[in-house]
Amino acid sequence: MSYLAGKELRIVGFLCNWCSYGGADTAGVGRFKQPTDLRIIRVPCSGRVNPLFVVKALLNGADGVLVSGCHPRDCHYSDGNFYARRRLEMLKRLLPFLGIDERRFHYTWVSASEGARWKNVVTDFTKAIHELGPFHQKEEKTECS
């Protein structure tokens, strides 16, 4: 257990290699102050993000999941994020049907040069998750704990 237990929540971020991961890097190089709840998983493209990644994370201990890719028309592979948009929108609508607050999942677009925007996305999303509180109160976290 980390010393931040109780203060920090578990947020998983799937970031595309070409834009958002670069954006996060830019934010770091710019020394922007950011919350530290987010654990980043780098993926080649937002089109690589299977909506089931998000479900698996949420069901197995994450309090929030963020997916970020290149802005539409900016995809390194030209159309990966277009597919991602459709899939993630479907997921965003399905989650509340199963009783999972859709605010626990957010998808957005951040380019490699948008360090400041990245900072805002992380800060706002982390704040939103903290307002919602921990997702797994009663359940034992068997896997990722």
């Binding site: 909506p51 089931l52 479900v55 698996k56 069901l59 197995n60 539409p72 028309r73 159309d79 277009f82 597919y83 948009r85 459709r86 899939r87 929108e89 479907m90 997921l91 965003k92 609508r93 399905l94 509340p96 049907f97 199963l98 009783g99 999972i100 607050d101 605010r103 957010h106 998808y107 957005t108 996305v121 706002d124 999303f125 939103a128 359940e139 068997t142 896997e143």
Partner: protein, 315 residues
């Protein structure tokens, strides 16, 4: 008699194909069972009544050679979807269409007769008469029909090579997803509690998956793979929910709403409800219904640069 027309159609098709899939009487009068036949003398065993519920299309992608299959309107959407996804060679399939206004849910009949043993079943007008030890019981068919029948628009199959009987028009209202919308009025906590209770019964027999005409991965399903390790062998609600999400999401834009998944569930879990919600969203977002037109592209296989219906989300 309709059954004679059906047998006639099967006899005609039989020499052109390797096997015909139809229905025959199952272990009791309430159950029909799929029947694979390849000889003319077997044709007489065929039956047709509202208890012929199974979607026989589910077998087709796994069969070699030329196959004849008896298909209802709802089942025919599977053929169309197979064509969209190029899962079958249409010329190898001989579709024997049957007009159908309504089937009957065995589960609903069993609930209506308190799960007793059925001795005899007859159909009279729009009623099913079930003989149980305490005597015959008349039930209006509409009361024991699966939910898909209430809004069925396909009384005549979309695809057929031979139609047994006359083409008929559907007499049902369009599906407005009332049940789904009603469920969405519950609070988040109520919805979560609902699914936890329902999924808790799941025994992971995978009947829903194996009966699904669009679950073509079957033995290669990620729900059972060790690597990647999507689910463990624990029998908790998390794992069960994960499986049902795998099933549901892999059918987004492909589910043809035959509701076989729900019909076959031995634990009576309303799994089709999830697929119905996905179908509702797909219709709203992309104006798409799976299995209606062979030339369509499933919405998850394509995109638009400008999505008129998807707005960016604020945190």
């Amino acid at each position: 008699m309709f059954i004679e027309k059906l047998k006639e159609a099967v006899r005609k098709i039989l020499p052109e194909v390797d096997v015909v899939i139809g229905y025959r009487q199952g272990f009791d009068p309430l159950h029909a069972t799929p029947y694979f036949l390849d000889k003319p003398e077997q044709v007489d065993q065929l039956i047709w009544n509202p208890l012929c519920v199974q979607n026989l299309c589910s077998y087709i992608p796994f069969l070699k050679g030329k196959v004849g299959v008896i298909v209802k309107g709802c089942d025919s959407r599977a053929i169309v979807q197979y064509m969209q996804e190029k899962l079958i060679t249409r010329e190898n399939i001989k579709v024997i269409g049957v007009p159908c206004l309504r089937v009957i849910s065995v589960k609903k009949v069993m609930a209506a007769i308190n799960q007793q043993t059925v001795q005899e079943v007859t159909f009279e007008g729009d009623n099913i008469i079930v003989k149980i030890p305490e005597g015959p019981k008349t039930i209006p068919s509409a009361d024991v029909a699966p939910r898909k029948c209430a809004t069925c628009q396909l009384a005549t199959p979309l695809q057929y090579d031979v139609l047994a009987g006359e083409a008929i028009q559907s007499n049902k209202p369009q599906d407005t997803f009332e049940e789904t919308k009603e469920f969405e009025k519950l609070s988040l906590e109520e919805r979560r509690a609902y699914w936890e209770k329902e999924f808790d019964r799941c025994i992971r027999c995978y009947a829903c998956r194996n009966a699904c005409p669009m679950c073509i991965c079957q033995d290669k399903c990620i729900a059972e793979s060790r690597d990647p390790h999507w689910t463990s062998q624990r029998a908790n609600v998390t794992e069960k929910a994960m499986f049902h999400m795998i099933h549901g999401l892999h059918l987004a834009g492909r589910c043809i709403s035959c509701e076989e998944c729900e019909r076959v569930c031995p634990m009576d879990i309303p799994v089709a409800k999830i697929k119905k919600k996905i179908s509702m969203d797909l219709k709203e977002l992309f104006g798409y219904e799976a299995g209606m037109n062979p030339d369509d592209t499933p919405p998850m296989y394509t995109f638009k640069v400008e999505e008129a219906t998807i707005e960016e989300h604020e945190i």
